[in-house]
C-alpha cells in the first residue's frame, strides 16, 4: 500500500475534528462544521468535556486566532500576513479544515498565476467541439468553494500580479462570479469565504490595491513571543515531521533545540537572552520555520552520517547556513556573535568548536 508523504490537515487530525464536532454544543454559522469556539479549541488545543485531548496546532496568542475566526464569521475575507515561516499557511490550512472540513480548495499564488486559475478556465477541446457550454467550463477551487459554501485558500497573494489579484474584488464584495460567455453566474453559498496568505518580505512586489485591501481583514502573525513558546513549536513540529519523513535518529534532545532556538532568538532580537549584550542582526529572517528545518536537517545528518544522536556538529552547518545569507555583512555578524557570545558560554564549547570548523 502506498503511504502519503504528507497528509492534509483534515486527514491527519480527522479523529480530533470528529470528536470536536461530536462534543460541540455552540451555535454554528451556516455551513460551518463546528462552532467558532470549537474552531479555536481545535487550533489552540485543549481538553474537551469528555476528557478528549485536542493537540495544539498554533502555539501563540489565542487572541489572534480569535480575530481570525471572528473575521470568518463575518463575510469579510481573512488575510494572514507575516514574515516567512510564521505559520501562515499552516494556520490557513487548519482553519479551512476545521471550518469547512477540507483544506484542499487551494490556489497557489505565483507570478504566473492567471485569471483562469482564480475564476474559471475552458476545456479547449470541448470548447472547440461544442462551443461555449457549461460542460466546457473548467471550475477553479474558488468557484467550487462558492458553490459548496466552503473556505477557499489563496497562498502567497502578493506574488500574483495586480491585475489578476483584482479579479477577487467582485468575488469578495458581490459574492458572485459571473460567466459572461454563458450568460450565467455562480453565486456564493453561505459559508463561503477566502483565506489568503501574504509575505511581509514581499511587500511592495505586487502591493494589494486599495479596493482589494478594503475587502480583507488582516491578521499579522508575529514571531514567537517567548523562548519556551518557540522551543515548544520546534519540538512539536520536528517530532511530527520526523515521523512523517521516517528519520531513524533518536528524538532530538531538548537541550539542542533550546540552544538553537536561543541562537535564533538572540540574533533576531539583536540582544542576548540575558539582555546584557547588544548584537548585530543578520539580514535573514531567522524564523521559527528555519529553526525547525535546521533541527530536521541535523537529524537527517545524524541518522545517515552520524551516530544517530543529534549533536552540535550535525547542527552547525545548518545554523551557519541559516544565519549567513549575505556573504559579507552576515559573516561579520556571525563571527562577532560566535566570538563574543557563544565562546563565553561554558557549556556551549561544542557548538563553538563545531561552528568554528565550518568557518565561513
Amino acid at each position: 500500500m502506498r503511504t502519503l508523504l504528507r497528509q492534509h490537515a483534515e486527514d491527519q487530525y480527522a479523529h480530533e475534528l470528529e470528536e470536536l464536532i461530536k462534543q460541540d454544543s455552540g451555535q454554528r454559522p451556516p455551513n460551518w462544521k463546528m462552532s467558532p469556539r470549537s474552531v479555536i479549541v481545535y487550533l489552540m488545543g485543549g481538553k474537551l468535556k469528555n476528557g478528549f485531548q485536542v493537540s495544539p496546532k498554533y502555539i501563540g496568542n489565542v487572541r489572534l486566532m480569535e480575530i481570525a475566526v471572528a473575521t470568518l464569521t463575518t463575510d469579510r475575507a481573512l488575510l494572514l500576513y507575516g514574515l516567512p515561516g510564521t505559520a501562515k499557511s499552516w494556520v490557513s490550512e487548519h482553519l479551512a479544515a476545521a471550518i469547512s472540513g477540507k483544506s484542499t480548495l487551494l490556489i497557489q499564488g505565483t507570478a504566473g498565476t492567471g485569471e483562469e486559475a482564480i475564476r474559471y478556465g475552458w476545456n479547449y477541446a470541448r470548447l472547440l467541439a461544442e462551443g461555449p457550454s457549461e460542460g466546457a467550463l473548467v471550475e477553479t477551487p474558488m468557484m467550487r468553494a462558492m458553490r459548496d459554501g466552503a473556505i477557499a485558500r489563496v497562498e502567497e497573494l502578493t506574488r500574483i500580479s495586480s491585475d489578476v489579484q483584482d479579479t477577487l474584488i467582485t468575488i469578495l464584495s458581490e459574492k458572485t462570479l459571473p460567466v459572461p460567455e454563458l450568460n450565467l453566474e455562480v453565486q456564493a453559498t453561505e459559508g463561503f469565504n477566502v483565506i489568503a496568505t501574504a509575505n511581509n518580505r514581499d511587500k511592495g512586489v505586487n502591493e494589494l490595491s486599495g479596493a482589494l485591501k478594503r475587502r480583507f481583514n488582516t491578521v499579522i502573525l508575529p514571531v514567537p513571543e517567548s523562548i519556551q513558546e518557540e522551543v515548544e513549536i520546534v519540538q512539536r513540529r520536528v517530532d511530527s515531521l520526523s515521523k512523517a519523513y521516517k528519520l531513524p535518529a533518536e528524538a532530538p534532545a531538548l537541550k539542542e533545540i533550546q540552544r538553537i532556538v536561543t541562537i535564533f532568538r538572540e540574533l533576531r532580537a539583536g540582544v542576548t537572552a540575558d539582555g546584557k549584550t547588544k548584537l548585530k542582526v543578520p539580514s535573514g529572517s531567522m524564523s521559527t520555520a528555519e529553526a525547525i528545518s535546521v533541527v530536521n536537517s541535523g537529524l537527517a545528518l545524524a541518522a545517515h552520517f552520524g551516530d544517530g544522536r543529534l549533536n552540535a556538529q550535525d547542527l552547525a552547518a545548518g545554523i551557519v547556513g541559516a544565519v549567513v545569507k549575505d556573504p559579507v555583512q552576515d559573516k561579520v555578524v556571525w563571527n562577532e556573535y560566535l566570538e563574543t557570545v557563544v565562546k563565553t558560554r561554558e557549556d556551549w564549547r561544542d557548538v563553538y568548536r563545531a561552528c568554528k570548523e565550518i568557518n565561513v
Partner: protein, 780 residues
C-alpha cells in the same frame, strides 16, 4: 432601612448608626457610576474617602469651576519637598465623584487614611524605601499594553504573586485579573441596584481575606486599615448616623466588625511613631498620560481616554468610538471610509461574541481597528493611542492655591542667585571661576533642560574657557512652565534629571544622546549623566556610523578631562571613552572611503577634533592606538586627499613620522603624477590650522615651492580657491612671514638642489609668475 445589608452590626446599632462601605477600584468607571448611584440613594450625612487627611484642606476645590480634571492632589514634605506623593484624579475617578457629590450637597467629607507624615516617619525608621518614596523615581512608563488599567486595590501588585484578585480571575478562566475585574465590575450598564454591586465586591474581598490570601503590601496595610477603622469609629462617636465610606475594595473587610477588631487595631496603632514632619498639600494640573503612573493610590490606568468615553457615552456599543478612530486616521491622511467603520464594528461585535462578552471592550475595539483599518499593523494604532485612547486632556488648577514645591525652589534659587525676573532683555556675562556665576550657569542649564527658555546661551562655552554669555528675557508664560514641570520633581535638580531621562528614553541615535549628555554635564545632573552614559554605551555597540561615534566621544572627553564629576562617574566615563575609541579605531579606515567633498571635510574636522580630545586625556595607550589607526588611513589608497594630508600632519606632529618620512609623503602627494586638485586637497589637510611648519622646515618649504613652480598656470588658477581656503586661515603674521620667505625663493642648503641654477629643468620665467601669484593670494 431599605436595601442596606450590613451583616456585622446588629440591627439596633444599625438603625441608629448606619455605615455603608463602597469598595471601589481607583479610576474605575463602573465603580464611579455605582458610587454616584448609591450615594444618591443613601444621602449620607458624612462621606469618608481613602486618602491621607493632609488633603482635607484642598478637597473643597473639587466641583469648583477653577479646578478641571485631570488633576492631582500633591502631598509633600515641606522640609524636603523631594519627598512627595501624587493622588491623581480624572473625572471618572470614584473618589472625585464622591467628593464632588459631597461638595454639591454640602455633606462633610473627610480623608480617612493614615496621615502621610506618619507614613514617611515609619519608612524613615525602617530605613527602607516606601512606595511613597518610590514615586520620586517614577519614570514615565510606556503604554505598552493596549488596555489594562493596572491593578486595583493594593499598590503595585504584579500578577499573580500578591494579586488577590487573580484567584477569582483564574476560576473564571481569565489569565489577566484586571480584565476580569473590568468585565465583571466596571463594564456595567445596569445601575438600578448599586447596593448589590457593592455587596458582591465586599463578599468577594471578604472571602479572599478570610481564606488568608495575601496582598503584596499587607504589612503597611495593617496600620493603614487600623487607622481607617479608627477614623470610622471616631465619626460614629461624633454621632454621624449615615456614613458612606469610599475606599479601595481590598480594605472593605477590614472596616467590618469594628467592635471585634477594636483591640487589635489599638495595638497596631500603638506602634505608630511620633512625627514632626510637616506636610503640605496642593493641586497640580495633570495630564491623561500621567494617569498611567502608579502613584498615591498605587493604581494607574493606561487608557484614560477610553474610560472617559465610557463615562461620557455609557450607551455606546462602539460605533461612536470607531467613528472617532476613523476621524483621527483621516486627519493623519489615512484613507478610512465609513465602510471601514462598519466592518470594524462588526468584527468587534463578533469578537465579543466569540469571547462571551456582553459588549466589546477596548481590546476588541483595538483589535478590530488594527485588523480592518490598519492592515493588521498594530503600530498604526499608535496614531490613535495618544489622541484618543490616552487622550490629550490637560487639567487646570485654581490660581489661588499655595505654591508648588518646584515653584518655591525656583523662586528661592532666583533670590539666592540674585536673578530678578524682568521682562527686559538683559545680557549676563558669567565668569565660571567664581562660585556665584558657576551656580548661575548650572541654574540656567537646568532651566534650559526643562525647556524653560528664560536664559539663552549666546557666548560659546568652549573647552577650557571660563566665560559664558547669557541673554535673559522673562515672559509670564514661564511661570506656567515652571508649574507644569512640577510633576517631574520638586526641586530644579530633581525635575531636570527626570525630564532629561525621559527625553533620553525617547532618543534613539548616539547623536541625540550625546547632545543630551553635553547639556547634562554643565547642568551637573549626575544621576542623568550616569544613565545616559549607559545608554550611549549600548547604542554604540550596534552603531555603524563612525562619525556619530566620534561626535559622541568629544563631549565625553571634555567631561573626562575638565568635567566637575564624581570619582565613580569618572571611571565610568573613561571606560566608555575607551569603548568608543576602540570602535572608532576599528571602523575609521572604512569610514574614510568613498566620501564626497562635503563628507570628507566633515570627517577631516572630526578627526582633528578627536585628535585634540584624545590628547587632552593623556591616556598613552589610547593615543598610541589612535595614531596607529591614523597611520593605517594615511597609507591607504582611495581615501580623500584632504584626509591623507591631515593624518600625515597629525602623525608628524605626534612624531610618529620623522622628517624624512614626512618629506617623502609630502613629495609624493605633490609629485607630478598626482592630480593637481588632489594635491591641493592634500595640502589643505596638511596645512590647515597652522602654516608655521613651512617657515621652519626648509625641506617642506622647498617641496611646496617646487610644486607651485612646476604646476601649469591654468591648473594653478583652478586650484586657487582651495589654496586660498587653506592659506587664508593662517594668522596675518604667518602670512606675512610666508610671503617674505616666498620672495627669497626656495631655501638653499636644504638638501635638494632645486634652486641650483644649473638645473636645466627650472623655468625661471614660470617661477617668477608663480611667485607673483602666490604673493598675491597670500596678501589679498
Amino acid at each position: 432601612m431599605f436595601n442596606v445589608v450590613i451583616d456585622h452590626i446588629d440591627l439596633i446599632d444599625h438603625i441608629i448608626n448606619m455605615v455603608t462601605l463602597l469598595g471601589i477600584r481607583h479610576h474605575g468607571v463602573g465603580s464611579a457610576k455605582n458610587v454616584l448611584a448609591r450615594l444618591e440613594q443613601l444621602r449620607p450625612d458624612l462621606i469618608l474617602v481613602e486618602g491621607p487627611p493632609e488633603l482635607d484642606a484642598i478637597t473643597k476645590w473639587i466641583g469648583s469651576k477653577e479646578l478641571k480634571p485631570p488633576a492631582a492632589m500633591l502631598c509633600y514634605d515641606e522640609a524636603h519637598p523631594k519627598r512627595s506623593v501624587f493622588y491623581p484624579f480624572s473625572e471618572f475617578s470614584p473618589e472625585w465623584q464622591a467628593i464632588r457629590f459631597a461638595n454639591k450637597h454640602k455633606i462633610p467629607v473627610r480623608m480617612m487614611d493614615l496621615p502621610m507624615a506618619l507614613r514617611w516617619e515609619m519608612t524613615h525608621l525602617d530605613q527602607a524605601e516606601s512606595p511613597a518614596e518610590a514615586i520620586d523615581r517614577i519614570v514615565p512608563e510606556e503604554n505598552v499594553e493596549v488596555v489594562s488599567s493596572s491593578e486595583e486595590t493594593t499598590p503595585a501588585t504584579p500578577f499573580p504573586a500578591g494579586d488577590p484578585i487573580a484567584h477569582f480571575a483564574a476560576i473564571a478562566g481569565y489569565t489577566d485579573s484586571d480584565l476580569w475585574w473590568e468585565h465583571t465590575f466596571e463594564q456595567v450598564q445596569d445601575l438600578s441596584a448599586p447596593a448589590d454591586h457593592f455587596e458582591a465586591v465586599q463578599l468577594m474581598m471578604q472571602n479572599l481575606r478570610e481564606a488568608g490570601v495575601e496582598s503584596s503590601l499587607d504589612k503597611e496595610n495593617v496600620i493603614r486599615e487600623a487607622w481607617m477603622a479608627r477614623m470610622l469609629r471616631q465619626a460614629q462617636n461624633e454621632m454621624y448616623q449615615n456614613i458612606a465610606v469610599v475606599c479601595g475594595a481590598w480594605h472593605v473587610p477590614a472596616l467590618l466588625n469594628l467592635d471585634k477588631s477594636e483591640k487589635e487595631h489599638a495595638k497596631a496603632l500603638k506602634q505608630l511613631p511620633k512625627t514632626k514632619i510637616k506636610v503640605g498639600a496642593t493641586w497640580v494640573p495633570w495630564t491623561n498620560d500621567r494617569l498611567s503612573y502608579q502613584s498615591g493610590y498605587g493604581a494607574g490606568i493606561h487608557s484614560p481616554g477610553w474610560y472617559y468615553h465610557l463615562w461620557k457615552h455609557p450607551n455606546d456599543m462602539g460605533q461612536r468610538w470607531l467613528t472617532k478612530v476613523a476621524q483621527i486616521f483621516r486627519d493623519k491622511n489615512m484613507d478610512i471610509s465609513t465602510a471601514h467603520v462598519i466592518e470594524a464594528f462588526r468584527l468587534a461585535e463578533s469578537l465579543a461574541g466569540l469571547r462571551g462578552l456582553s459588549r466589546p471592550g477596548l481590546l476588541e475595539m483595538n483589535e478590530a481597528t488594527a485588523t480592518v483599518m490598519c492592515m493588521g499593523d498594530v503600530i498604526l494604532l499608535d496614531l490613535v493611542r495618544q489622541e484618543l485612547i490616552v487622550g490629550n486632556a490637560l487639567g487646570k488648577v485654581p490660581e489661588r492655591l499655595p505654591k508648588l514645591p518646584l515653584q518655591a525652589d525656583f523662586e528661592e534659587q532666583t533670590r539666592k542667585l540674585r536673578l530678578p525676573q524682568t521682562a527686559l532683555e538683559k545680557e549676563l556675562k558669567l565668569d565660571l571661576r567664581t562660585e556665584l556665576d558657576l551656580k548661575r550657569s548650572v541654574f540656567f542649564f537646568r532651566l534650559h533642560i526643562l525647556d524653560i527658555p528664560w536664559a539663552k546661551l549666546s557666548g560659546q562655552r568652549g573647552k577650557g574657557t571660563f566665560r559664558e554669555v547669557w541673554e535673559l528675557r522673562w515672559e509670564p508664560e514661564m511661570t506656567v512652565a515652571v508649574i507644569e514641570r512640577g510633576i517631574w520633581g520638586n526641586t530644579l535638580e530633581d525635575a531636570a534629571t527626570k525630564y532629561l531621562l525621559d527625553k533620553a528614553a525617547g532618543a534613539t541615535s548616539i547623536g541625540e544622546l550625546s547632545a543630551l549628555i553635553s547639556v547634562a554635564i554643565p547642568a551637573e545632573l549626575y544621576e542623568a549623566i550616569e544613565a545616559i552614559l549607559g545608554r550611549i554605551n549600548r547604542a554604540a555597540a550596534v552603531s555603524a556610523d563612525i562619525a556619530e561615534l566620534m561626535g559622541a566621544l568629544l563631549p565625553l572627553a571634555d567631561l573626562g578631562r575638565y568635567g566637575n564629576v564624581r570619582k565613580s562617574d569618572l571611571a565610568a566615563i573613561h571606560r566608555l571613552i575607551e569603548g568608543l575609541a576602540t570602535r572608532i579605531y576599528i571602523g575609521l579606515p572604512n569610514a574614510c572611503y568613498g566620501l564626497d567633498e562635503e563628507s570628507a571635510q566633515k570627517m577631516f574636522e572630526l578627526i582633528r577634533r578627536v585628535n585634540d580630545a584624545l590628547r587632552t586625556l593623556e591616556n598613552q595607550s589610547l593615543i598610541e592606538d589612535w595614531l596607529r589607526a591614523l597611520e593605517g588611513i594615511s597609507s591607504k589608497d582611495g581615501i580623500p586627499p584632504v584626509l591623507g594630508g591631515c593624518t600625515c600632519r597629525l602623525l608628524f606632529d605626534a612624531q610618529v613620522f620623522d622628517r624624512e618620512e614626512t618629506a617623502r609623503r609630502f613629495a609624493f602627494a605633490l609629485s607630478a603624477g598626482q592630480d593637481a586638485a588632489d594635491a591641493a586637497g592634500w595640502l589643505e589637510g596638511f596645512l590647515k590650522g597652522s602654516g608655521m611648519i613651512l617657515l621652519y622646515d626648509d625641506v617642506l618649504w622647498n617641496l611646496l615651492y617646487k610644486w607651485v613652480a612646476e604646476i601649469h598656470p591654468e591648473a594653478f588658477n583652478a586650484l586657487l580657491p582651495i589654496l586660498r581656503r587653506t592659506f587664508s586661515k593662517f594668522s596675518t603674521g604667518e602670512r606675512r612671514s610666508l610671503g617674505e620667505k616666498a620672495r627669497q625663493g626656495s631655501v638653499v642648503g636644504a638638501e635638494t638642489g632645486l634652486n641650483n641654477p644649473e638645473n636645466q629643468l627650472f623655468d625661471h620665467e614660470l617661477g617668477e609668475m608663480a611667485l607673483e601669484l602666490s604673493t598675491r593670494f597670500l596678501f589679498d
